[in-house]
Assembly symmetry: C2
Homo-oligomer: 454 residues x 2
Amino acid sequence: MSEQIKYLLDEADMPKDWYNLAADLPVPLPAVLHPGTLQPVGPADLAPLFPDSLIMQEVSTERHIEIPDAVRRVFRQWRPAPLYRARRLEEALGTPARIYYKYEGVSPAGSHKPNTAIPQAFYNMEAGIKRLTTETGAGQWGTSLAFAGALFGLEIQVFQVRVSYNQKPYRRAVMETYGASCVASPSSLTESGRAILAKNPDHPGSLGIAISEAVELAVQRDDTKYALGSVLNHVLLHQTIIGLEAMKQLEIAGDDPDVIVGCTGGGSNFAGIAFPFLGQQLRGGRTRRIVAVEPAACPSLTRGKYAYDFGDTAHLTPLTKMHTLGSTFTPPGFHAGGLRYHGMAPMVSHIKELGLIEAVAYHQTQCFEAGVTFARAEGIVPAPEANHAVKGAIEEALRCKREGRSEVILFNLCGHGHFDMAAYTDYFSNRLADLEYDEAELAMALAGLPSVPD
Amino acid sequence: MSEQIKYLLDEADMPKDWYNLAADLPVPLPAVLHPGTLQPVGPADLAPLFPDSLIMQEVSTERHIEIPDAVRRVFRQWRPAPLYRARRLEEALGTPARIYYKYEGVSPAGSHKPNTAIPQAFYNMEAGIKRLTTETGAGQWGTSLAFAGALFGLEIQVFQVRVSYNQKPYRRAVMETYGASCVASPSSLTESGRAILAKNPDHPGSLGIAISEAVELAVQRDDTKYALGSVLNHVLLHQTIIGLEAMKQLEIAGDDPDVIVGCTGGGSNFAGIAFPFLGQQLRGGRTRRIVAVEPAACPSLTRGKYAYDFGDTAHLTPLTKMHTLGSTFTPPGFHAGGLRYHGMAPMVSHIKELGLIEAVAYHQTQCFEAGVTFARAEGIVPAPEANHAVKGAIEEALRCKREGRSEVILFNLCGHGHFDMAAYTDYFSNRLADLEYDEAELAMALAGLPSVPD
């Protein structure tokens, strides 16, 4: 049996700054537009939702942004996160490629989400905020914000899409263990929730409705703000600690990645592993292939349109230019709930449009098959979302085998699957189907994109 | 907010030997007796079940037993496991005590069980064995052996108590992800299973029946052996890597424990954290308090009798002298399934009888309350079993607060609760009762202990 190798970093080598890709973009990001005026939004427009420190990060073009000491002290519980050389997986595949993976499942919440939940909670606490509202689908993000709230003494109100709330009681139990309050959305806590319940008391909910409820509650009280777990620039910024650590660890390993792979839903874990490497390239460094892997049932990067669209189905958010399937598009209920989003982070969309990254889509059974191969070789059971990255990396490794090339592949294993084992049960009992989205619905959703003058 | 502190060890400082308490015992362990002859068993009696290397460890009195390189290479994925100074918990409790915990949930299986699953699989592989059988209740042990089997190319057959098999499909899914076969026990795979099913096709199963099935299958084929996850001397030996690492980490922290706390079911995680420190004491070192925490609903150390008894309800195993509630005693169905065993490891029982350790029992709601306090302060959600250790440590910390003493408390956080969140859901919805065992049943079980001449 080959020897798997772990590369740790000393705590002293944990990055002291996040890396901001906006500083190195050859073309700046398209403006964010106000949903009413279609004019670019300014920081003041975002003030009801976010504290100034996060708004400044959202619009910053500074290359390095300091990670507060209080945040680094919390990170030290599980960071620097390990980088592994997947020797046992290489052996199982018979590939000459060298496969590395960064493992973010070591956080107490089990995924990369605390990388941004902790700073978001810290900045809000620092600004005197007492309460945060948020939405969550499967629950990875709600869990992470609940964890962060417990540490910084913030009350956390999570609106969980009702269908997930009922299907995944374990996630809710984790949020409650951390002291957060989690209600099924639509709820009776908000006007928008009550309006929907009045029409349909059994409404299954949607991420769009949950966002509306969280935003409505946040703007009502001065002591309350809103938090988002992906998509926004400052969220992607916070995740760059992943790639910055991996870069140092690969230096210790004496290797340099030819291909970097991450899965994409909103885009934050992908940005986290990829942006620091892409920044090097944009500053004149080596060109590497960067591959975003998305679910075939919700293929925003590979099948979506690059256009201005709303972030939510209720159309309360500003308009951003992004790869989108249309804000009214409802992806089928596949298991990687964290990847079921109609749009893509504007910054990830932008670099895709600039030709700086590739994108590929896989169906879920292929991804679970890859995840099982990985688990038997490496011992870690990946989350359904992470299985997409595993699939992407295995495909690259098999290409290397066919081509006889010993390339270096790096991928981000963004979380473990402990709370998602029902999906594996379905996979083993052949109850896992390759869900297809409705082509007519997609066409309609794309036709309904808001019209924005150039 | 106080700063939690993590103490890591370099891989080079991972222990190279296990520590064998048998070398330092002031009085040797009572003999293990053959169930038929009541005469001491020899190594040959155990040969159908275990490879020679493990039998030699079972009876060894050498102080240090080398950890094979192949085992240490696997351990390097997650070992040395972190030791944390629980500063945030100390602050939450307002205690002058300094609390440290060793965290074993970082293993891919989520608990300390791989510490023995990996070497057991390795020694069997080395002996040419192709298949291992075992029983599991809640599933922590079955999961860990499945993981080990995947790494060493062994087929793993798990007999899971039917009631758990039906209640905990997530654990089974993990075992299957690792490639193990897991069947509900009683099963139709064995004579003993078929005999029970013939009488009652809906029999809920028991750990005793599952052991019978696993043993029956193991002795039938030369290429098959049996593996046990606790109780036996060699299992306790393998777990001492926990305490050996903690000892080095506390040296780095510049502290020395006054009290060591672990939860006890079969006794292996408790032995793991405690034996290396107890060994120091027996060789003339400092005396420390060592506290075993057990469930009040299955209190072998605090309410059991120190007597010869069978390890299984079907009376197939040898007789060992231990604290036992009687092999026919059925503990009520509380959530810490890993602690629901009628007996205690003979070596743990022996040192309790010698007055070298203390024991205390708590009800499950108290333990979950402690676990929630811990999770909100430290971010890690403990397994129901580990909550007993958390409760024990918090009680010691509160005593220190009352007495104004800044003692050093070390406890073993033997696993996370990701697969046990249903128990937390029950706790939060007030569906968790403090189950009491049946006093009459206990009296009957104790009256039925086998009679063994002195």
